[in-house]
Symmetry: C2
Subunit: 180 residues, 2 copies
């Protein structure tokens, strides 16, 4: 993969298979596409989501990992204790526009990005080093992750993945795909 | 609303109420939050999605409009004929990183952004003035719209909406909300 100085793990809270299946899948896909390494989720275990993302990885390359986490708050605390930086994406947080410079200025490049869940317990606001808002309007976990990852690394739209079986030849007028 | 020189309409193709309810809702919410004016969707009519977005608008302000479109290709063609610019967001397109300057350089500020639908018919590639990829990897309509709107107007994360009943006071450690 093209150089990405950040090692980003996502923690998606409170997955509900019936209601959240596609949102969680899209969260995972954008995380992979934009250069995160690992996607952890809590709530209810859902092999279907894991399989969809795994199939994308097999075809499109890279070594993105999906993982179920039983105790997400403990996971976040341990991540922090082990020296990583915890960033909670919430519309109640400080505007990312005002914080991204600070975040990119930290010497630690090992980041945990937490996304809700409808009601995120107070403890997550406390464990987070940064509570940042991708704008203070309601939108989506998917877009919040996308904008954060893009602001972290503007080159993320041009990442190259290893071990890919398929590749798009960008075109202004049709689908051009090569199978490798 | 804070000045946005662009008048952006979204056309979301092929909505299926059961499968796409939340994805389409999130597409609409991010479109509103990031400054689009109108969200049109084709496929199956779905009042539930419209109501969710309408409730957000009532509480959070602005005058974002939702609209069902019966003949989306005709709609796109008419948009173009009336002088607007049609941009189809597709992972098969040219990388947005290489095209955004061109797009921002056009004097026309009336844009139609088309997002799929799983299989987008060839005609949409043809009617589009630009087929652009938010990276050539699979991710999500939600993140594609978010990144495009953000690249079009970096100030979109700080838009202020009129007639809002609720406002967040950005905070690094808790939820602070004022009811107006």
């Amino acid at each position: 993969m093209t150089q990405n100085i950040y090692k980003v793990t996502i923690l998606r809270l409170g997955h509900r298979p019936f209601r959240d299946k596609r949102i969680t899948t899209h969260c995972a896909l954008v995380s992979r596409a934009f250069g995160a390494e690992r996607f952890c989720y809590s709530g209810v275990q859902d092999n279907e989501v894991v399989n969809v993302v795994e199939k994308v990885r097999e075809r499109w390359g890279g070594d993105f990992k999906m993982e179920y986490v039983d105790k997400p708050l403990v996971f976040a605390k341990r991540f922090k204790e082990s020296g990583g930086v915890v960033i909670h994406l919430t519309m109640y947080g400080e505007n990312i526009t005002d914080k991204i410079k600070d975040i990119k200025g930290i010497s630690v490049k090992n980041l945990l990005l937490i996304v809700g869940g409808s009601k995120v317990p107070r403890e997550y606001y406390e464990v987070a080093d940064y509570n940042v808002a991708i704008g203070n309007q309601p939108h989506s976990e998917v877009s919040a992750l996308a904008i954060f990852l893009y602001m972290l690394n503007n080159d993320c739209l041009k990442l190259e993945f290893e071990n890919t079986k398929i590749k798009i030849i960008p075109s202004n007028n049709k689908k051009k795909v090569i199978n490798l």
